[in-house]
């Protein structure tokens, strides 16, 4: 959604925050459904728990700060859904609740609620649990496990504040061929293994709940773009710059750097570019700033992935992009028509 600075006449398009947010929820639902189809009961439980804890956190924050009830603007729901989709499917529910509360409280309420938050709340929540529980957040479960609709992944039901239950027996019983407990990015980083393209499009690779199918993510994002609920320039800038960076590194040394499709289709790049970088409260509004913001995120993602200690870089890239957004807006104001340059 672009907010262009114009003079009168102002025509009301009949859109307000809850309407836009509701459509984002619609766009996220197929992704959630796909995640549930892949990971079964554990994915349902995780999505429900995280979303409910976000809503609870929002309600408590409303009470404490004495402001109006903001549950109905759907923003806490989106935070919850997005956050759940960035977590690994085997993530213990209690950690999911911690993520939900820290997302809303640290990421939004403390700054004054929706619109005042400098960072995407879902990513703040994820960053918090990434720092708090580095092992649990990199423990992946296989998709399409045979018993996924009859039983939970054992670590899902871990008692609060306890170490996640061991899932190796469950993974062994799942009889999914070739599952190694690592994401395509991690397998490249540590083993130089190139995941087949079709696995990453259809969602058979180990990953967070909602980042497995690049194709589905693109379709859902496209819906929002077509309905003009989302600024197309941001995902285009993010994905485009990531593509150029990956291509350049590949050109420089094809042995040392992963192939381009791996950079584009794996990990959270699609999810981040389409649903997180485009968060209206935390992205810039002026046209030039939007392009630079998107490119910054794409470039940082690739740099963090290739040269950082972590295998995935989208989260920190977007958070850094969020931090830079106000500055970009400030210095890249469009010229007012008719105004003389100083």
């Amino acid at each position: 959604m672009s907010i262009e600075l114009r003079t009168a006449p102002h025509l009301h398009v009949g859109r307000d925050v809850p309407t836009i947010m509701r459509h984002v929820v619609y766009a996220l639902l197929p992704i959630c459904a796909f995640s549930i189809w892949q990971y079964g009961l554990s994915a349902i439980a995780l999505i429900v728990t995280v979303t409910l804890s976000c809503l609870a956190a929002e309600r408590i924050a409303n009470r404490l700060s004495g402001t109006v009830n903001t549950l109905s603007d759907w923003s806490a729901t989106i935070t919850g859904l997005l956050l759940a989709l960035t977590l690994p499917p085997a993530f213990p529910l209690w950690m999911g609740a911690v993520a939900g509360f820290s997302a809303v409280w640290l990421g939004k309420s403390l700054f004054g609620g929706l619109g005042h938050n400098p960072f995407n709340p879902a990513l703040v929540g994820r960053a918090f649990v990434q720092a708090a529980f580095p092992t649990a957040i990199t423990t992946w479960a296989p998709a399409f496990a045979a018993q996924r609709f009859t039983e939970f992944i054992p670590s899902t039901l871990t008692l609060p504040f306890m170490v996640p239950n061991d899932i190796s027996a469950w993974v062994a019983a799942a009889t999914v061929d070739g599952f190694t407990g690592a994401t395509p990015l991690a397998r490249w980083k540590f083993e130089h293994f190139v995941y087949p393209v079709e696995d990453m499009i259809t969602g058979a690779a180990g990953a967070s709940s909602g980042e497995t199918s690049a194709l589905l993510l693109l379709l859902c994002g496209l819906y929002l773009i077509v309905r003009k609920f989302m600024d197309w320039r941001i995902p285009v800038a993010v994905i485009g710059s990531a593509m150029v960076m990956a291509w350049a590194f590949q050109l420089y040394d094809a042995e040392a750097f992963p192939p381009m499709h791996l950079a584009l289709l794996s990990g959270g790049l699609m999810l981040g570019a389409l649903f997180m970088a485009t968060d209206m409260a935390t992205s810039p509004v002026t046209p030039k700033a939007i392009w630079i913001y998107g490119a910054l995120i794409g470039v940082l993602t690739i740099i963090i992935r290739y040269f950082g200690g972590l295998t995935e870089g989208v989260m920190y890239a977007i958070l850094i992009g969020n931090a830079a957004a106000p500055l970009l807006d400030k210095y890249l104001q469009p010229k007012v028509f008719g105004a003389k340059p100083k």
């Binding site: 918090f128 720092a131 708090a132 529980f133 580095p134 649990a136 504040f161 306890m162 170490v163």
Partner: protein, 209 residues
């Protein structure tokens, strides 16, 4: 300092630093050690006691010499005195526990530049007799220690499932790694400041009614 005509009693001088002017939660002074060494309650206590020691003795000595110290060189004199007691503390900690010495690291020497101490010397010890100065310094030191302990215990409980190295939740506890990392210090400090601000606001609202 208050400019009341009424002289505060020794008890008030002592209590000032513990609650009303708590260096960590009210004045937000000495943040460097507060954030850096509070990964465990034991480290926090060690740091708090060390700072209290320096605070009490240097304030007492400065107060004794307050009429002799010319105002032009007073800061230099205060720093020499404070640095002396920091050096003493440095030796004492090494003699008592090398583990604590390693855990606190450079922050022992950095007590010299802790603004609580210079602040007390300048604002209180330089103008008050030794007994009152020492009591005030002791209160401030205790207040600082309480502040550090408040951070240290939360961080140790969440970050390691222990308090003073005693396991609280059994071996299966999942530590919140972030709490023993630097960001954890900021989160917990922020949480406590929020809590005290909320207390103060509530008290204000009650008095208003």
């Amino acid at each position: 300092m208050t400019t009341n005509t009424k002289q505060p009693t020794n008890m008030e001088q002592f209590l000032e630093g513990i609650w009303k002017q708590n260096p960590v939660f009210v004045m937000v002074l000495g943040m460097c050690p507060t954030l850096a060494v509070t990964v465990s309650a034991f480290n926090a206590l060690g740091m708090g006691v060390a700072t209290t020691f320096v605070l009490v003795f240097s304030c007492a000595l400065i107060s004794l010499l307050r009429k002799q110290i010319p105002k032009e060189v007073r800061i230099a004199t205060y720093i020499v005195i404070i640095a002396t007691f920091v050096t003493l503390v440095d030796y004492i900690i090494q003699a008592v526990s090398l583990a604590l010495y390693d855990a606190l690291g450079a922050f022992i020497q950095l007590i010299v530049v802790n603004c609580i101490i210079l602040g007390r010397a300048e604002a209180h010890a330089a103008k008050n007799p030794p007994l009152s100065a020492s009591l005030n310094a002791l209160g401030m030191g205790i207040g600082f220690t309480i502040g550090l302990l408040a951070l240290g215990s939360v961080r140790e409980i969440l970050g390691a499932g222990k308090l003073f190295d005693i396991s609280l939740f059994g071996a299966n506890f999942q530590p919140w790694v972030v709490m023993v990392l630097p960001p954890g210090g900021f989160f917990v400090l922020g949480g406590w400041l929020l809590f005290f601000a909320w207390l103060a606001k509530r008290k204000e609202a009650r008095h208003g009614k």
